[in-house]
């Protein structure tokens, strides 16, 4: 039994297919393969030809061609972000001119395109933004369906709308349900925090670090010498064969692995592993942190981490990231590293290097790391038994 919202989506999608088929026939003649030629020129790095083809598309296209241009984003994404931008700029130029000229855009076709989940998420977002310029109420119609959308921009607006509804709800049960829904689906840090804070005020204890996918339990070892930043390239241990019972030659003598737990309460530092607290507060040193992620299957994941310090990252002994940058800012998901996990236990090793700077803002010696899918959602670990 389909729910009303699902019926609505089915109908809109069928409408899209019908419109798209009609438009396809129309645009085939109007644009005459120009979109493919533009993408080809961008792929070849031929800027001059790209521009000529872009202008030919913009000159020839009408508002009825917008869906065809949006659809070209699918082939553009295979070429890369520059090609996507060429397509996007064509959509904007045509829509802007047509809207100014006729005062209208093909709202039904645009709305159907927004709902077509097989279309490029960015193209759907562009269609949505142009739709709103001629049909502002479409936001209220569409956003409730997009809480888990693969377009993070659509999802962001949908979660934002849900949070507003939650804020305005008068009964506690409704508030709770809406905040829980937002907490589960949010991918933006600020929205996530807003939902988590609201849940706390409602007496809940949301697992913030877990929901984000931050890895909580680590083993750390150090300090090792990083005088003159030379430790960055010195291998104080072998990432391929780590013995947790081993003793290493540290900066001031023997060092061994110790336990360290990531920050779980303070939202600003959520997931942060603090070497200063776990080892020693010192400059020109480095440390290693090791943990295990138990994957239920072989899969592609993203290792997203943040540190204001120079770092190296290994997954199962393979070096996957090298960032020789000190105190040049940080930020949530500062580094996004695509990785391949095997089924079972996967070793994650990070080397974090502190330099010689003495300003107060250079004191932190820390990192945080989470395992996610391509949209930033936490990949949950399998049961520990699988690790054996």
């Amino acid at each position: 039994m389909l729910r009303p919202i699902e019926c609505f989506r089915c109908l809109m999608y069928l409408a899209f297919l019908a419109i798209a088929n009609n438009l396809s026939a129309a645009t085939d003649s109007a644009l005459d393969g120009k979109l493919e030629q533009l993408v080809e020129a961008v792929a070849e790095g031929d800027q001059s030809t790209s521009s000529k083809r872009w202008m030919a598309i913009v000159d020839d296209a009408t508002s009825e061609d917008l869906v065809a241009i949006l659809t070209a984003m699918n082939s553009a994404q295979n070429v890369g972000p520059l090609a996507e931008n060429w397509i996007r700029a064509a959509v904007d130029a045509v829509a802007e001119r047509e809207l100014r000229g006729s005062g209208g855009l093909p709202t039904a076709a645009l709305e159907a395109f927004v709902l077509a989940e097989d279309q490029h998420p960015r193209a759907r977002r562009v269609a949505y933004e142009w739709l709103l310029k001629v049909d502002e109420p479409a936001a209220a119609r569409l956003l409730p369906q997009m809480l888990d959308d693969v377009s993070l921009e659509m999802r962001y607006d949908a979660i934002g709308s849900l949070l507003t509804e939650a804020d305005e709800a008068t009964d506690e049960e409704t508030k709770l349900q809406k905040y829980q829904r937002a907490f589960a689906s949010a991918r933006d840090k600020t929205q996530f925090q807003q939902a988590a804070d609201a849940l706390k005020t409602l007496g809940q204890t949301p697992d913030m670090a877990g929901q984000f996918g931050f890895l909580k339990n680590w083993k750390v070892v150090g300090p090792f010498d990083n005088t003159d930043r030379e430790g960055f390239d010195n291998a104080y241990l072998s990432p391929n064969s780590i013995d947790l019972a081993a003793e290493y030659s540290g900066k001031h003598g023997p060092v061994v692995w110790k336990d360290a737990v990531a920050e779980l309460d303070d939202f600003d530092d959520l997931g942060m592993v603090d070497f200063n607290a776990a080892l020693v507060e010192e400059k020109s040193v480095l440390g290693y942190a090791l943990t295990t992620f138990v994957s239920s299957k072989a899969q592609s994941v993203e290792c997203r981490y943040e540190s204001k310090l120079a770092t190296k990252l290994w997954i199962n002994g393979e070096e996957v990231a090298v960032k020789n940058v000190y105190h040049s800012g940080g930020g949530f998901d500062q580094y996004i590293v695509p990785c391949q996990f095997k089924a079972g236990a996967n070793a994650i090793l990070i080397k974090v290097c502190q330099n010689e700077q003495t300003q107060p803002w250079t004191k932190p010696w820390e990192f945080r790391l989470r395992i996610t899918d391509s949209l930033g959602g936490a990949v949950q670990q399998a049961s520990a038994q699988l690790a054996k």
Binding site: W86, A89, A93, L152, E153, V325, S328, G329, Q334
Partner: protein, 419 residues
């Protein structure tokens, strides 16, 4: 591909006989404001009658106000009757905007959007749209912290686009970049310096192809390049001036070759200014006479004044004086002839925007959005505050002067102040 330039010591360019003009002008109309700090990067504008007082609240002397998307700390530019503004938006700051407004009416003429291809992280006070765009009069070159460089014609048609972080992996950082591009002849030059990767690239204005590039020091630097219209005895070309934490380099514009390297402990936020001399923010202000000093002394400062400590705004040079606003919000005037600090005037607040000079009036906008209109005494006496005007919003981008108006942008608004 990097081209490592051959360093030519000052003594080897004796025969170069630099003839440096007091300003550099691209092929733009005189009334235009085509780049960061305007024509020649001197922060000096022309307008017949700018008001000294205005009110955003009641519209007094506000010709128009326009909405802007997202955030931006870049300055507006004015080209051929259009005001061009860059912005960035989105939860990940990766949506890039270029907006064009009619300078007379304030009507939005066109608006283009792109997705960033490089790092979009930046400090909370800044934005991906931090560099001020530049124009050669026919094209607009919009540059962003994410190292995306987009060329559009004046009607908003896309001419070419470069994702320079794709070409220079590791460039940029999580604090954000802010160096503004400069058009020199038929190339647009961008400077992007951070620990991960640093480069200067000269890119053909018409084709978007890289003519040449340079490896640069692997350290964070937010300064903007400037161009000096110059004449060699050999090929009469402008000179590109690049500032980094340890030196100032003068480079040939046709191949990037270093003509002169001046060792100086330069600031990495505040950009240098040229007006007959090079005024470098380095332990205060250091002034270099690269034109007429003794041949072995071009890299020695003719004046070094540690009491002239600029904050983030660049120095402004006019009427025989160098003006700097320090971190405490005090406007300092240094006399070039007397080589001393002539006077100080407390304005108040923190400044990011570089002040601009129109006639004998200096417009200084602090980060809280208060604009001090300061009258400068032609005889060198202490300047005085004529008016304080509130925009009511944070303002970090440097204003522009053109079309008989003062153009100021906050994150969300663009104003034309005019009678």
């Amino acid at each position: 591909m990097h081209t490592k330039p051959t360093t030519i010591m000052p003594t080897t360019i004796i025969s170069a006989c630099l003839i440096l003009c007091s300003s550099f002008a691209a092929c733009t109309e005189a009334r235009d404001w085509p780049m960061f700090r305007g024509p020649g990067g001197r922060s000096v504008g022309e307008a017949s009658e700018l008001p000294q007082e205005w009110s955003i609240a009641d519209g007094k002397n506000v010709a128009w106000q326009a909405d802007l998307p997202g955030r931006g700390v870049s300055g507006p530019i004015v080209v051929d009757g259009k005001v061009i503004v860059t912005s960035s938006s989105g939860p990940n700051r990766d949506r890039l905007h270029v907006s064009a407004f009619d300078a007379t009416s304030g009507e939005l003429m066109w608006h283009r959007q792109f997705w960033a291809t490089g790092k979009s992280l930046c400090h909370a006070t800044s934005a991906n749209a931090a560099p001020t765009p530049a124009s050669d009069g026919q094209r607009i070159f919009a540059f962003y912290s994410s190292n995306d460089l987009i060329a559009l014609d004046l009607d908003g048609n896309l001419l070419w686009m470069r994702g320079l972080e794709l070409d220079y992996p590791g460039a940029g950082n999580a604090l954000g970049m802010s160096s503004s591009p400069v058009v020199v002849g038929d190339v647009v030059v961008v400077q992007s310096e951070a620990q991960g990767n640093s480069f200067v690239a000269a890119i053909d204005c018409a084709s978007g192809e890289t003519r040449w590039d340079l490896e640069r020091p692997q350290a964070s630097n937010w300064c903007s390049p400037i161009a000096i219209e110059a004449e060699y005895t050999i090929d009469k070309q402008p000179v590109l001036v690049l500032q980094s934490g340890e030196s100032i380099g003068l480079h040939r514009i046709d191949n990037g070759e270093t003509l002169m390297e001046i060792e100086a402990d330069c600031d990495t936020i505040t950009s240098l200014t040229f007006d007959k001399y090079l005024f470098a923010p380095a332990d205060g202000i250091q002034v270099f006479d690269v034109l007429s000093a003794g041949l072995d002394d071009k890299d020695k400062p003719i004046w070094k004044e540690s009491k002239l400590q600029p904050g983030s705004p660049s120095p402004v040079v006019a009427n025989g004086c160098v003006y700097v606003i320090n971190r405490s919000g005090v406007l300092n005037c240094g006399s070039i002839e007397d080589q001393n600090v002539a006077w100080k005037l407390r304005l108040g607040g923190r400044f990011w925007a570089t002040p601009i000079l129109v006639g004998n009036r200096m417009f200084c906008v602090n980060s809280d959005g208060k604009c001090f209109v300061v009258e400068l005494d032609e005889n060198g006496g202490k300047g005085k505050i004529l008016a304080e005007n509130e925009f009511g919003e944070d303002i970090l981008g440097s204003p522009a002067v053109a079309e008989n108006g003062l153009f100021v942008r906050s994150h969300n608004h663009l104003w034309k102040i005019a009678k």
